[in-house]
């Protein structure tokens, strides 16, 4: 499964490693709901670190779309909220 970390690139993650990522993803979601920036940051970095650890970088010239996409490491919680929101922070 291909995962993109925004601002960093795409990585291939083996199916066996997905379960741990999903747990961290849930924590991230809960952190965003809680509205606490520090919790959010810890959760985001936990998830990103794990993806970097288990993932294998895709070649730069790959044109495959990612199944999962993660916000950049330095994104603020509000920014991520906007990315996920309807107004869409991601440019067309």
């Amino acid at each position: 499964m291909i995962v993109r970390i925004m601002g960093e690139g795409q990585l291939e993650v083996a199916p066996d490693d997905l379960a741990s990522l999903n747990t961290l993803d849930e924590e991230l979601e809960a952190a965003i709901e809680s509205g606490d920036e520090a919790t959010f940051r810890t959760a985001l970095h936990g998830l990103l670190d794990n993806v970097r650890k288990v993932g294998k970088a895709l070649p730069e010239d790959s044109l495959e779309p990612s199944e999962l996409i993660l916000p950049p490491a330095d994104a603020a919680m509000d920014e991520v909220r906007k990315m996920l929101g309807d107004e869409g922070l991601i440019p067309d």
Binding site: L63, E67, P91
Partner: protein
């Protein structure tokens, strides 16, 4: 729903909307390629912008560092002429610059990081754009409607995800540099207005006081030395110049040898003779 999945769906839906707008799939390829080239230019401009801001900060940091050194020197000189109050003033002002410098250095690092990120993003995009161009030509050459549509959609979705990612990276870098430009502009204004210059500039009060003080002790010491040479006054400093015979004698000699050095120092100081 999962954050990771939601994010990827948002990207995909953007790509799909763009695809839906195209009538001829081959048109999609050319149009997308044009946009990719534009985006590449945009990233490169972004890298250049960040570099410019970084260099401007570097200049400001250098200027402030020079002023900081000057204040340190002034502090030392003030102590040498026994003006602890002036030395304290110089160090207090230097502390004011310290925090400003710390702030600038942090911004500098942030910009450096941003520059690196954008440079890497531009390399990644370049690799993908090259790959897209090859794919585009292949698809066009072997065009059979149904098959091509799938291939085009794949390539398009893949590249538009990268474009969205890079586009956001540029936006964020722009915001950061805009903020910093505003702050750098404020510091430039301060430097130009002399508000920072006053801390240590050519006309600053600490230097004026030191220049005034510099004349005093220098002249006094010189006078005493002359008097001693002429045998007009007590000059205990000059009395020990016989043949050194013991360790204690050598110590005295050593301290005497330092005294003329100090005087020479004072004579060399700019403004010391005012």
């Amino acid at each position: 729903m999962s954050v990771m999945k939601r994010m990827s769906m948002i990207f995909k839906s953007k790509a799909n909307k763009a695809l839906d707008r195209m009538e001829d799939p081959r048109e999609t390829l050319d149009y997308s390629y044009q946009r990719q080239l534009e985006m590449l230019q945009k990233v490169r401009r972004g890298v250049a912008d960040v570099a410019t801001s970084r260099k401007r900060l570097e200049l400001q940091i250098n200027q402030l560092e020079q002023q900081q050194n000057k204040l340190t020197d002034q502090g030392k000189k003030a102590l040498q002429v026994g003006r602890e109050d002036l030395a304290r003033e110089a160090l207090t002002r230097r502390a004011g610059l310290d925090s400003q410098l710390g702030d600038l250095r942090a911004q500098y690092q942030q910009l450096q990081g941003e520059e690196e990120k954008l440079t890497l993003a531009s390399q990644r995009l370049q690799a993908k754009v090259d790959s897209f161009r090859t794919r585009k030509e292949t698809i066009k050459a072997t065009y059979t409607a149904a098959e091509a549509q799938t291939k085009i959609n794949e390539a398009f979705t893949g590249i538009s995800e990268e474009m969205g990612d890079v586009g956001l990276a540029i936006q964020r870098a722009e915001e950061k540099t805009e903020n910093m430009k505003a702050r750098a502009g404020a510091i430039d204004e301060l430097l130009a207005s002399g508000a920072l210059e006053d801390f240590s500039g050519p006309k600053d009060d600490i230097q004026a006081e030191l220049d005034r003080m510099g004349a005093g002790p220098g002249v006094d010491l010189e006078l005493e030395r002359l008097k001693a040479e002429l045998g007009q006054g007590p000059a205990p400093k000059e009395l020990g110049q016989g043949t050194p015979s013991s360790g204690a004698q050598q110590d005295v000699d050593a301290s005497q040898q330092q005294a003329p050095h100090q005087q020479a120092d004072w004579q060399q100081k700019p403004g010391g003779g005012q």
